[in-house]
């Protein structure tokens, strides 16, 4: 079905001048992504999964420059650092990418024959049904750069992607592909501010019995716009875990589309968002498909909102026919620190198998006065008491991070944020 002219014009304006190398396997994959995009058009406010988040700032042809003061997280973690400045890999600022059991290449530099040829854009394409994700197709078609990581064994150190922005007027599109071969294990960290407007796609293929840990700290530049997408395929006995901390920013949309295809696999996706101010909108949109038996999935999302900030959660557990013994859990909670902030949630279950245990919960409310009073009566100053209760509220989500040092790093960052934002 052809798009109406107005939608075509809007799309042409958005993609005009974007990076589009048309040779080799990349050219083919990018061409296919462009075709998908052409059939879908850009997302609009009337689309079911954009009802709470206005995509206009992400679909506009231009984005305005912002004053950046973002910084990378995980400084204390011993990792192989790969630095991207304004969306381009910076070899000089990066560590030597040699890591036993892990093969790392840069998207902008790969040869015509590469293992990623079978994956690039494929998981994204599969993730376009039943819900269309046009921004992800932009990520496949027009990525400026990215990394291709293939793990064949347990990596000795995490790989850390560090984003820096120098121009702050940049509009950056990154596409990463991560492949974990059978039994491999990898921790991937992401942090920093990449651009005034960042669009990313990460495709993750987790083979049998492999283990993938992803921890992300989204930059703190107050005015940045971010749209991220994770598409994962999780095979038999494999483990996939992704955790995101987000603070500040005007608009953050984090999508995760996880497809569990092998029996006995585990998929967890969790996140914490803290926002202050009317401009803050943070949106987690998660779609987990159970297509195999005895798999477990968990979604744990917590948001702390104040001064008119908005939190959005849209999460779905889809259990396909035959995906028996599925254990699906989903919780989305918000803590509204004042009367202006809002929380909009759509936690969904769609279940076509009978021998399953699926549940979801969603709550929203203020800080518990009784708990606050108790702490005050024990001599804890009000501000500290409030911080304590906020951190306690976030604890269930933070517990999703397996590595204690990484969790501690993020906890410290959150405490700092609470301090700066008055509890």
């Amino acid at each position: 079905m052809a798009l109406p002219q107005a939608k075509l014009d809007q799309l042409s304006a958005r993609i005009a001048g974007l990076h589009f190398p048309a040779t080799g396997w990349q050219g083919k994959a990018r061409g296919e992504a462009l075709e998908r995009l052409g059939a879908m058009g850009l997302p609009g406010k009337r689309d079911e999964y954009w009802r709470y988040t206005d995509p206009t700032a992400l679909t506009a042809p231009e984005t305005k420059a912002v004053e950046g003061r973002g910084e990378a997280a995980f400084e204390s973690i011993d990792a192989v650092k790969l630095v991207f400045v304004d969306g381009v890999f910076d070899a000089a600022a990066s560590d030597d990418p040699a890591l036993a059991g892990v093969e790392i290449t840069r998207l902008a530099e790969v040869a015509d024959i590469h293992w990623a040829g079978d994956l690039y854009g494929q998981l994204e394409a599969a993730g376009q049904t039943p819900v269309q994700r046009p921004l992800a197709a932009i990520g496949s078609a027009f990525a400026t750069d990215g990394v291709l990581i293939r793990a064949t064994a347990a990596a000795g150190r995490p790989v850390a992607l560090v984003y820096r922005s120098e121009s702050y007027s940049s509009d950056v599109i990154l596409h990463h592909v991560v492949k974990l071969e059978e039994g491999a294990e990898l921790t991937l960290l992401e942090s920093g501010d990449a651009a005034a407007r960042l669009l990313t796609v990460m495709e993750v293929d987790v083979a049998k019995d492999a283990r993938f840990h992803h921890v992300r700290s989204q930059g703190r530049t107050p005015e940045r716009l971010v749209a991220t997408h994770i598409f994962a395929r999780i095979a038999e006995g494999a483990l996939f875990k992704s955790f995101t901390v987000a603070a500040n920013g005007v608009l953050t949309r984090n999508e995760a589309v996880l497809d569990i295809v092998g029996d006995d696999a585990v998929a967890h996706v969790a996140g914490v968002a803290v926002g202050d101010g009317r401009d803050f909108l943070h949106d987690d949109t998660v779609f987990i498909t159970h297509g195999a038996e005895r798999c477990e999935s968990r979604q744990v999302f917590k948001k702390v909102l104040k001064n008119g900030a908005t939190g959005v959660f849209q999460g779905k557990i889809l259990v396909k026919p035959g995906a028996q013994k599925t254990d699906g859990y989903q919780i989305s909670q918000s803590l509204l620190l004042d009367g202006d902030s809002q929380f909009l949630a759509k936690p969904e279950l769609e279940i076509y198998a009978d021998d399953v245990k699926c549940s979801h919960g969603s709550t929203s409310g203020a800080i518990d006065d009784t708990a606050l009073f108790y702490l005050r009566s024990r001599g804890v100053p009000e501000k500290a008491a409030q911080s304590l209760l906020v951190l306690a509220f976030l604890a269930e989500a933070l517990a999703e991070i397996e590595d204690e040092a990484i969790a501690e790093d993020l906890r410290a960052r959150l405490e700092g944020w609470l301090d700066r934002h008055d509890g």
Partner: protein
């Protein structure tokens, strides 16, 4: 100790169910048809049909204009497709919009003049149209009166206990009668809760509604008996579009029951009703539905398409509304009884059991729109899917910035019986202030093997065991129903699941 006690209670309750089920035997026991001469308007919908329906009901000009305005809007609208329902395109021109028993040509003055065939129809359905009667299934207790408005295809055939209700000042009559006799009330309230432009099906209803019930409870009156409407679709290829308007004035109370059945046919029939409830200060309305339209056969042939808009507007402070529904019938159910909690401290409750078996599809739930301060709402939804059925809970809870200190609790549980069916939950939660608390919980599980095993080991067959477990699962909702309905509902739960195991 506590466990033993609950088991005993449950056993007591459910033994009755099983006996009732056995007594009822057949699968859909309301599938017969009354052979009666009918008068039809020509098939299809047009301005002429709208004018004809209005003329048949002797309506004043303003009512006709209102209908025509709705019709003109409807022509511009498209059928909503967002529900998780799959059904072939409905041909809105292939439906009779008006069907009336010939014997109703001259409106009977009292029930004694009503065609005996019609009375026999309701007697067979267990609906007492004789004023001394009480609903079947209730024994011992002191005689409990229930006033009934019976709607047969497009017209109301009779309303019982009108005189006695009139003494209390309660108006209970067909809506067509109300338009003629109480135009000031109808004019004031109709469309004020569900406006003509509300949605595709409600707009169609606004244009072509043929009859329905009207209730007005005056200030400070506790309605002396339960009121009920019984809807029966009889004629083939006929759509039923009834419209119910309930107005509870300040400090009043009414409990209202609604039941529905239809004959077995292999073509689908359309039912698009609108129920509007206006609740003023300190008033309370309980609205209970047992929806048992013909669900179609095991292969999904036939059955009612049920597209219903029900909404209560708690306009006054401290007003209260409670929706309880047991949805067992219909091939397609599209229904979201909602509460607009406008008055401060107003309360809305929604208790639902939705059972879908064989090829049935249900997309049902509620909306709780909190606008007033200190408003409260509670949602308890139990969805049961069996066979190849699809059952969706779709709900919205919205806390507006002004709705300070409000509270919502939502619990939706789904039970799956068999590996071919589906159970889905689609809640929308919108919280725009921080003094309110919203809690939503949902679970999906199958009938517990341990519970089944226990029942089997006590000598029950599998079907009885499932009925018992399911009734236990539904208990919170069954308890919210008025007693007569609870009995019927409990029996229905078991019947609807027949053939779902083994």
């Amino acid at each position: 100790m506590a466990l033993e006690e609950t088991l005993e209670v449950r056993e007591g309750v459910d033994r009755e169910t099983i006996e009732t089920v056995q007594a009822m035997a057949g699968k859909y026991k309301y599938g017969w048809e009354t052979e009666i001469e009918m008068e039809y308007a020509p098939k299809g919908v047009s301005e002429e049909i709208v004018r004809l329906i209005s003329a048949k009901n002797d309506e004043p000009e303003w009512m006709l204009e209102w209908r025509l305005a709705a019709y003109r809007r409807w022509v511009e609208m498209t059928e909503p497709k967002w529900a998780m329902l799959n059904y072939p395109e409905i041909d809105y021109q292939d439906i009779y919009y008006y069907a009336k028993p010939k014997s109703m040509e001259v409106k009977p003055k009292s029930l004694d003049e009503v065609d005996p065939k019609l009375l026999a129809t309701y007697a067979k359905l267990g609906i007492p149209l004789k004023e001394q009667a009480i609903l079947a299934g209730v024994e011992g207790a002191e005689e409990k009166k229930v006033a009934v408005d019976a709607v047969f295809d497009s017209v109301s055939v009779g309303t019982t206990f009108k005189a006695e209700l009139a003494k209390a000042g309660v108006i209970f009559c067909s809506i067509s009668e109300a338009v003629r006799e109480h135009p000031e009330l109808v004019k004031k309230y109709i469309g004020s809760v569900v406006p003509q432009s509300d949605n595709f099906f409600a707009t169609l209803n606004s244009a072509v509604f043929s009859d329905g019930s009207f209730v007005y409870i005056p200030e400070g009156v506790k309605c002396p008996m339960e009121l009920s409407t019984y809807f029966r679709i009889n004629a083939e290829n006929t759509g039923q579009f009834e419209r119910t308007l309930i107005v509870a004035d300040k400090g009043s109370y009414v409990s209202y029951l609604e039941g529905c059945t239809a004959p077995k046919r292999d073509t689908n029939q359309l039912h698009a009703a609108v129920v509007e409830i206006v609740v003023l200060e300190d008033a309370e309305v309980k609205y209970s539905t047992v929806q048992n339209w013909y669900p179609g056969d095991e292969n999904g042939v036939g059955g009612i398409y049920n597209f219903v808009t029900k909404r209560a507007d708690c306009r006054g402070d401290r007003s209260k509304v409670m929706w309880t529904q047991v949805e067992t019938g219909s091939a397609i159910t599209w229904k979201y009884p909602s509460c607009i909690l406008r008055g401060n401290e107003s309360q809305g409750e929604f208790y639902s059991i939705a059972i879908a078996n064989n090829a049935q599809q249900a997309d049902t739930g509620t909306k709780m729109i909190h606008l007033g301060k200190n408003t409260r709402s509670r949602i308890v939804s139990k969805g049961i899917s069996a066979g190849k059925a699809q059952n969706t809970y779709r709900g919205q809870v919205s806390m507006h910035p002004r709705a300070q200190n409000s509270r919502n609790y939502t619990q939706c549980d789904s039970l799956l019986i068999g590996d071919q069916c589906g159970a889905h939950t689609v809640p929308y939660i919108e919280v725009k202030n921080n003094s309110s608390r919203v809690e939503h919980e949902a679970t999906t599980s199958k009938v517990d093997d341990d519970q089944l095993f226990y029942c089997r080991s006590r000598g029950m067959d599998e079907e009885e065991a499932v009925a018992l477990v399911v009734n236990g699962f539904c208990k919170e909702v069954l308890q919210a129903l008025p007693m007569e309905f609870a009995m019927e509902a409990q029996a229905l739960v078991a019947i609807s699941l027949e053939g779902s195991v083994g």
